[in-house]
């Protein structure tokens, strides 16, 4: 993983106020960007980022350096992201069960036709298509292409096997290609 300008674990110890601030300033953009890919509402995203930071600060003095500090932080953020998604699903199912007339909540954000019409930019078309992917496929595409994590690093942080990660990557790419090749399926997503 190539993430420049991140402090090493050794340089952050002892974990006083100054070093805690250094850690937070260095890693918060990374954690926020990673967790925003979980498609969480703003309040849950905020909670997940803060919880990740607090967990990292609590655990930093016990960090043994078995992996890179950034990998360790990614792993904690990934678990927080999953927890937040579970909470979101629980809340949504409770809301649906309380109001039977309410429309079922969709995990993927919906776009108005006018918004879809504005998606001329190829990058934004990819993003719209990404919303149709299952969670794992969307996340591994982000980890691999955006964060530059290797298949083994992704497998480690997602507690999965490298072959499974490769399969998610392939299926994600294939789905995106077919969605982008067929604009009608993209608009209906």
């Amino acid at each position: 993983m190539e993430l420049p300008n991140l402090p090493s674990a050794a340089s952050l110890l002892p974990l006083n106020q100054r070093n805690a601030r250094r850690f937070v300033d260095s890693f918060t953009p990374l954690i926020s960007a990673q967790l925003s890919r979980f498609r969480l509402p703003h309040d849950l995203l905020q909670d997940a980022v803060q919880e990740t930071l607090v967990r990292c600060l609590r655990g930093l003095k016990h960090f043994r350096g078995d992996s890179q500090l950034s990998t360790w932080v990614y792993r904690i953020a990934y678990r927080e992201g999953l927890r937040a998604q579970e909470k979101l699903q629980r809340d949504r199912s409770r809301a649906v069960s309380l109001s039977p007339l309410a429309e079922p909540a969709d995990s993927a954000p919906t776009y108005s036709p006018s918004f879809a019409a504005e998606q001329q930019d190829e990058v934004l078309r990819v993003r719209t298509a990404m919303d149709t992917l299952p969670n794992e496929q969307r996340l591994v595409l982000g980890y691999h292409y955006l964060d530059g994590l290797s298949v083994h690093e992704i497998a480690l942080l997602m507690s999965s096997r490298p072959n499974t990660v490769k399969s998610w990557l392939k299926r994600g790419r294939d789905s995106l290609k077919s969605t982008l090749a067929d604009p009608s399926s993209e608009e209906s997503a």
Partner: protein
Amino acid sequence: MKDLEQLLRDPRAHADAPSEESWRAWSDEAIAKWNAQQAQARQRNPLRLISNALFYAAVLMALWILFPALASTAEKVGEAVGSYQVWVGMPNPWVIAGIATAIAVAITPPLRQRLLHEIG
């Protein structure tokens, strides 16, 4: 259409990252939460020390009661077992207490660290 892999390397293709203003506010709150937890942990420390002390005292008491009882039982079974009392040398309960404390210190990281800190 550009190459898909090239498009996937663009952050905009994944999600809107929170603004700098947002994440700076979140990190300030996280630091404040962490500070509050640290302060709470420091306040809890004396209580934890007392509860640890009570726990070890209870363990020592149990050993003090258990060992003579074992010795006494061994004495009764003596011939068959070969007299546990003789093998143990009927140690003074304080010796047993000392051994138990040494084991407790050795296997309990916080106590070991505290002891090493005091010595070092």
